[in-house]
């Protein structure tokens, strides 16, 4: 077989560290020196910048690089892993031999010749922001500070930050996998505190993606994020106590999609289902949501924070239907789960860095739009809450219980949005919360690009999205007592 030409690609590790194809085969050979079914190498070179303005001063600026190589050997269900932050041949070989200790059989030979993974180009950045002029980034955070303060005199504390990175990766495996990618990531965040004589409140906003610096000079500019953060802080100054107990809940479009991430996404990661530790184990083909709910995980959306050309095992990402018209269709898989479960690899094998073992993770997870007009959804609610912005969430995948914390929410009384309420945690049960979705809006929106997901101590960037939806019953964790006539203050 003729090896495909790798010469026309930008070959970061070949050029900067003098790595050759022969070296890679040699390292993989060492990894399989005690047997094993599979071995891979993950080379990473990450450069990053961050800036923070506080009290209208640029108080911190930092830059750094982190580089290394992780070696994995898989033997049956067993994984051996070792890494090095020194990319010299002797250190990589040492790591390969350490990882090899997981197996104890005669040596195996990796397949000869690498096969380059089909490459998408979801984030064709010409000048990565990490290489752009630092003065332009300083301008961004200073503009955000100014815009937030100009919004209202009650905005008295503003912090604006900007962070970007460029991650160059190379993944090669004993099955011939060869994938390179150059993954930009940038984001801005603004947080504000509004103060009056006897009250204070906070607001926050942010966004970004796998984008170049010019992204922040378009619609999603510092003023956009600053005004949004300031608006939320001012609004919260007058928030009433949130109600407590079960009630109708309407979620606004966009970031409230974090519901899907917590309630169903994690429970559908293949590793939990292979081990039967997920509340969703064995539910494929069963109804887990109402007819109107179709939930997708999609790693192929251009410029998105959760997107990847290839996952961290070198597999191209894809669009995966998790729930179709309420029926559970599939899991999110990496190579190990795919092999052990006999299912397709959906290209969801991700890791935080070269120090970490990959596992099934979400990319961009969202619900498709339905037919309902968002105004009609609000009008249909007699008494409930309308939650439009959230902090984070968490799930216990074994019993299915999940929470997500509303940071901007309102009372709905007799079909009308009335007063803003204080932040409250919403809690529900993953396998049945979507069965109570009675209306799905026609206004699907994706989040602005700030999500980071944690699993087993590994953080990876993700996206979420959702149209306006109505959930007939969900527990709201406020402090106000209910009375027969409505909600008391």
């Amino acid at each position: 077989m003729i090896k495909p030409s790798l010469a026309d690609k930008q070959r970061f590790f070949f050029d900067h560290y003098g790595v050759t194809e022969n070296d890679l085969e040699h390292y993989l050979g060492a990894a399989l020196s005690a047997g094993g079914d599979y071995a891979d190498l993950y080379f990473e070179y990450l450069s990053s910048t961050s800036l923070m303005v506080d009290e209208s001063m640029v108080k911190s600026a930092s830059q750094g690089i982190s580089a290394g190589c992780g070696v994995r050997v898989v033997s049956g269900e067993r994984t051996g892993y070792a890494y090095t932050d020194d990319l010299s041949a002797s250190r990589i070989l040492h790591a390969a031999r350490t990882a090899a200790l997981i197996a104890s059989a005669p040596a195996k030979t990796p397949v000869a010749g690498f096969q380059q993974s089909a490459a998408r180009s979801l984030y064709p950045v010409t000048l990565p922001s990490v290489d752009a002029e630092i003065t332009a980034k300083v301008e961004l955070v200073m503009r955000a500070d100014k815009a937030a303060r100009a919004y209202d005199p009650r905005i008295q504390e503003v912090r604006a930050s900007y962070a970007d990175e460029l991650r160059n990766i190379l993944v090669v495996a004993s099955d011939g996998t060869f994938a390179e990618d150059s993954q930009p990531l940038a984001r801005m965040n603004v947080s504000c505190i509004a103060k009056t004589e006897n009250n204070s409140a906070r607001g926050g906003s942010g966004g970004g993606g796998r984008v170049a610096l010019d992204f922040f000079f378009g619609d999603k500019n510092p003023e956009f994020f600053a005004k949004e953060a300031a608006r939320q802080a001012i609004l919260q100054l007058d928030a009433r106590e949130a109600p407590a107990g079960e009630m109708e809940v309407v979620l606004g479009p966009g970031w409230p999609g974090v519901l899907l991430h917590e309630a169903v996404g994690h429970g559908l990661e293949a590793d939990f289902n292979r081990k039967k530790t997920s509340a969703f184990a064995g539910l494929i083909g069963k109804r887990v949501a109402s007819e109107g709910c179709t939930v997708i995980d999609n790693g192929t959306m251009p410029w998105r924070r959760g997107s990847l050309n290839v996952d961290d095992e070198g597999e191209p990402t894809q669009e995966t239907v998790l729930i179709e018209k309420g029926i559970l269709k599939g899991y999110l898989s990496d190579k190990l789960s795919a092999r052990l479960m006999g299912i397709a690899d959906t290209g969801n094998g991700r890791r935080e860095s070269y120090e970490h073992i990959p596992m099934p993770r979400m990319t961009n997870t969202y619900m498709l739009a339905g037919q309902d007009n968002p105004e009609d959804i609000i009008r249909s609610v007699k008494r409930g809450i309308y939650a439009v912005n959230f902090g984070g969430g968490q799930v216990d995948i074994t019993n299915g219980k999940f929470v997500f914390g509303a940071s901007e929410a309102y009372m709905i009384e007799d079909g009308q949005i009335t007063a803003p309420i204080k932040g409250a945690t919403l809690i529900g049960n993953g396998p049945d919360v979507l069965t109570r979705v009675s209306m799905v809006g026609n206004d699907l929106k994706l989040d602005e690009g700030v999500g980071t997901c944690g699993k087993d101590g590994q953080a990876v960037p993700v996206g979420v999205g959702i149209p306006t939806i109505k959930i007939d019953r969900l527990t709201v964790g406020g402090t106000a007592k209910k009375d027969p006539g409505g909600f008391m203050q």
Partner: protein, 462 residues
């Protein structure tokens, strides 16, 4: 008691990393910095997970990294690298000097004054090589034994996320342009089990338990860890929702710790000077009941939060944060202390890059005299919380709302498990409503709390 004698500039151990840190500081100063600080970290980690008796993962590695912070007058910037080659270190220093031209003049910026710098002397009992003393197969056996003890405990425990054994060591060096150079090593090992129990109708519950220590010989037996994990998991089986109500709540130590952390976040100088804390401006005022005394002590030998100096080279110390309900001290680093016109409390925490933050030493609530059982026996109808889900504390307003699960208390005893409920209130009132503090203080990390009873919170459920 630990000695608090200082040993500024009297190095005990000469290592390559120590001279490297000093060299980087010198290079930054030669390049035009008015002050500089360098941190070097190296560490080794080992971890193994055994699931259903079989090894699932085995990980072993080490890494190191270096960071420099420079001042150009009152302008600060920092850079870091995992690459220790000469050109990479050169680039790191040059980039920091370049970056310091674009940051703002901050009148409060700078490294600590020379007179404040120093390090605790004496053996702080932080490093024991025995965490790596077990041969490979015995380490795996630790994990296997913990899981097996859980699986064997009860037939309803049918599955598991595994048993694990972890060991790690870390070495940290800090040097600055006032001539400070200090270093310390710390070790750590832990064993844990995460069993899954199932009822006849298929409903599953998972819980965990662990033991952590700075030396292997102080680790609890894997059998004990597995047994407690099993008990904690089994008591969750058959959980139901609770009715929305205001009832007394008992928080077990694992969740009480997170409540105590809200006071830590509230007295963190960074939140205080920005007015971003519900405790800002409350120094000298009552913020909790008379029974509440909170201490931060970075000097306790063998402690998980102990170190000889903080992230800026200030010797650690003991600070009474809250004394009989009165806020006695904020927790500060050099910058936040200057902003507030106070003195640093030696709580600077420093990553590789950025400005130093604020971290706890050994931070704890002083225990009372009664047992958790006595506290529970006095409650007619109430809730015992064993787990929180989500975050849900707003430090600016004090608003508090979290997902929870635990056990319902009826007639002074546990009646049945509950889940899918919320606990809500406001932090400003919560600490006045701590009506009981039990005697069971135990450190499983740098923050520790005994069992607590808090009244006046709202339970959200059906």
């Amino acid at each position: 008691m630990p000695s608090t004698q200082l040993e500024t500039g009297r190095p005990k151990l000469e290592t390559d990393l120590r001279s490297l840190a000093q060299d980087i500081v010198r290079r930054a100063m030669n390049g035009g910095a008015t002050a500089a600080e360098c941190v070097v970290r190296e560490g080794d980690e080992f971890s193994t997970l055994v699931r259903l008796g079989q090894v699932e993962t085995l990980k072993e590695s080490g890494s190191r990294s270096i960071g420099v912070r420079v001042f150009n007058g009152q302008r600060a910037a920092s850079t870091y690298s995992s690459d220790f080659s000469a050109p990479a270190l050169d680039r790191m220093v040059k980039s920091a000097l370049e970056l310091s031209k674009i940051t703002s003049e901050d009148p409060f910026g700078g490294i600590p004054e020379a007179a404040q710098l120093g390090s605790l002397t004496g053996d702080l009992d932080l490093y024991h090589e025995d965490v790596y003393s077990l041969p490979g197969p015995d380490r795996i056996d630790y994990a296997r034994r913990a899981e097996k003890a859980a699986l064997d405990f009860d037939p309803r425990i049918k599955n598991s996320e595994g048993g694990s054994f972890d060991a790690a060591t870390g070495h940290k060096v800090l040097a600055n342009s006032h001539g400070f150079v200090g270093e310390y090593r710390r070790s750590y090992c832990s064993v844990s089990a995460v069993p899954i129990a199932q009822t006849e109708d298929g409903a599953m519950q998972r819980d965990y338990w662990y033991s952590v220590a700075r030396m292997l010989s102080k680790l609890e037996s894997p059998e004990q860890v597995g047994k407690v994990a099993a008990e904690r998991t089994l008591r969750r089986l058959g959980a139901r929702k609770a009715k929305t109500a205001q009832v007394p709540i008992i928080f077990d130590p694992t969740v009480a710790t997170s409540i105590l952390e809200h006071i830590f976040e509230g007295v963190n100088g960074d939140s205080v000077y920005r007015g971003a804390s519900f405790l800002a401006g409350k120094l000298g005022q009552k913020i909790a009941g008379d029974n509440v005394t909170i201490i931060d002590d970075g000097t306790i030998p063998g402690g998980f939060g102990t170190s000889p100096f903080d992230g800026e080279g200030i010797p650690t110390r003991r600070t009474v944060v809250v004394e009989k309900g009165v806020l006695n001290s904020y927790l500060l680093n050099t910058y936040t202390a200057k902003k507030l016109g106070l003195k640093t409390t030696g709580n600077a925490s420093r990553g590789l890059a950025g400005t130093p933050g604020i971290g706890p030493g050994n931070y704890f609530l002083q225990p009372g005299t009664r047992t958790p059982k006595q506290l529970i026996s006095e409650i007619k109808e109430g809730l015992y919380v064993t787990e929180f889900l989500g975050h849900g504390a707003n430090l600016v307003t004090g608003d508090y709302s979290r997902g929870a699960s635990g056990l319902w208390i009826s007639g002074g005893e546990f009646a049945y498990p509950v889940e899918e409920i919320t606990v809500a209130g406001n932090l400003k009132e919560m600490f006045f409503n701590i009506s009981e503090i039990a005697s069971d203080l135990e450190f499983r990390g740098s923050v520790a709390s005994p069992t607590l009873r808090i009244d006046g919170l709202t339970v959200g459920g059906e």
